[in-house]
């Protein structure tokens, strides 16, 4: 007989924070996010203001995080660039989730669509992400919007696959059958029962996609096929900084650290969410 202790079941937040790293990661990420969102108020100067004569000034009193090859303030650029990088990550996470959910739900719910849609998902997943993104960006042209579109196309199948798999499982669960027995419509079953229950794996996956998209954006910029280079992103900052690896290594270290820390904290948060949502792990704790 399966025993379920009901009162002792740990609370979600307790679980989320049961790994010490997770609250730290969450705090760091929220901090980064806030700083970047409010870049307009926080940044010490206009990110585009040049004072060419101060180029490559190392971090110090004038420029807290140094100045780049145009003598622009790295800190200000970092914050504004973060807005774009995080924006791309978030945009991709959201759009790919929406597309993925739409495809995955339809495939999981309508047997007739399933064959074609899951083959489509398989085929899309067969393209390595960077490769597909490069091809798409090179064809759409490099702008922030296009990078978001391209990366969303790349990552949507991943969400779709998860959604489809979970949908197939959930639609067979007794509570869905109960809903059908009650006469609920397919649409209400889809949203009230299926979507509501796969939201957590999607959120977890979304966090990871957020992270991967930021890495991918940096990769695309590195390869010279990313966002148009006059828009600062952390990726373009690294790419620009590469040339000064000798005189001004901070130019690639600082955005590199910004990316790595953001991606790391996102992954930690994703892991934490997953652990918190996985009842098996919950029991083990």
């Amino acid at each position: 007989m399966a025993g379920t202790s009901f009162a002792g079941e740990p609370k979600f937040l307790d679980l989320l924070f049961s790994r010490r790293a997770v609250p730290v990661a969450l705090a760091i990420f929220v901090l980064i996010l806030t700083l970047c969102v409010f870049a307009g108020f926080i940044a010490p100067s206009d990110p585009d203001r040049m004072s060419v004569r101060s180029r490559l000034t190392p971090p110090g009193a004038d420029f807290w995080l140094g100045a780049d090859a145009f003598g622009r303030d790295v800190l200000s650029r970092l914050l504004y660039a973060g807005r774009v990088s995080l924006g791309i990550g978030l945009g991709v996470a959201l759009i790919s989730s929406v597309i993925g959910i739409a495809i995955g739900l339809s495939a999981g719910f309508f047997k007739r669509l399933d064959g074609a849609l899951s083959r489509l998902i398989d085929a899309m997943m067969a393209f390595p992400d960077i490769l597909l993104a490069i091809a798409l960006v090179s064809i759409l042209g490099g702008s922030m919007v296009n990078v978001i579109i391209a990366l969303s196309i790349v990552y949507a199948p991943r969400i779709a696959r998860i959604v489809r798999a979970s949908t197939l499982v959930i639609r067979e669960l007794p509570y869905v059958e109960a809903a059908r027995a009650l006469g609920s419509s397919t649409l209400s079953i889809m949203f009230n029962h299926v979507l509501r229950n796969i939201l957590s794996p999607i959120i977890v996956q979304g966090t990871f996609i957020f992270a991967y998209a930021m890495l991918a954006e940096a990769g695309l910029s590195f390869l010279g096929v990313g966002v148009d280079p006059s828009t600062p992103t952390w990726g373009t900052m690294i790419n620009e900084g590469r040339q000064y690896i000798d005189q001004a290594a901070f130019l690639i270290f600082i955005p590199g650290i910004a990316i790595s820390v953001s991606v790391l904290s996102l992954q930690l948060i994703g892991d934490g969410l997953r652990d918190a949502m996985d009842p098996r792990l919950a029991k083990e704790l």
């Binding site: 085929a123 393209f127 960077i130 490069i134 064809i139 940096a218 690896i245 590199g256 991606v263």
Partner: protein, 313 residues
Amino acid sequence: MPYYLFRRFVGMLVVILMVLTIAFVIVRLAPGDPAALMLGPEATVEDAAELRVRLGLDRPILIQYLSFAAAAFQGDLGTSIFFNQPVTSILAARAEPTIFLSLFSLTFALLIATPIGIYAAYRRGSFADQSAISIAMLAASVPSFWTGLMFQRYLATELGWFPAAGYGEPGADFLERMRHLILPSIVLGIVNSALILRFTRASMLDILGEDYIRTARSKGMGERRVVLRHALKNAAIPIITVIGLTFALLVSGAVVTERVFNIPGMGNLVVSAVLRRDYPVIQGTLIVVATLYVVINLITDLLYLLVDKRVKY
């Protein structure tokens, strides 16, 4: 079983057809006239028109697609605009470094990641486990080109341990060429080990929680035997499939790594092709890589069947 094989095979063909279609559509989305692109800036309008006819670009899109797909199934992926050579032969010339780079980095990743993953799962919650997953997560968070640049700079240029770039001089023998792949393989392997480590650990954790592990312990056998005989064999199955899936990751990584280390592989080719607007090459690479992925995953799935007697077909 034969029926299952047949079904899987047909499924694979359908996916490959889908891959072809997607690649065709992607490239057709490209703005501009492919003929004008091929001829370059100095071409006249008449030249372009003539070329369009020659390439069949004036025919209805469906016909174009069909002949493209038919040609592709016969191994003809078109002609490179830049090199004016068949895409297949260009790709064939780039296959060696990419294949070996992938193999080496996968081997490297497996050698590093599996034992650590197993150990971490076995001693879950311990300091060793925590450090292993932290390092793995960190490794997965650092852009691989960044790692590549650093390794190149410090391990190759400064310390001279490895060649900094390239794929050996013309006529270099096999060993020499492979020597050039060591450092890139490590760079690429790092990201993969992160993934494989976490995956190994996770599936090992799953297995260690299974009832039959408790049964094994109740038989009075040593922990080593429990882990290596009873758990590992079961954990190996999901690990095999994830290796198939990492192929895409490897190729993605290869694009960046080959670029950093200037290795004349398919990844480098595709970036150059993008910069050269050489659409047939982009298309061909997409198709070849995706097809390989599909085939590799079919193989790992079949391997899975061989190892796991439970799977019914």
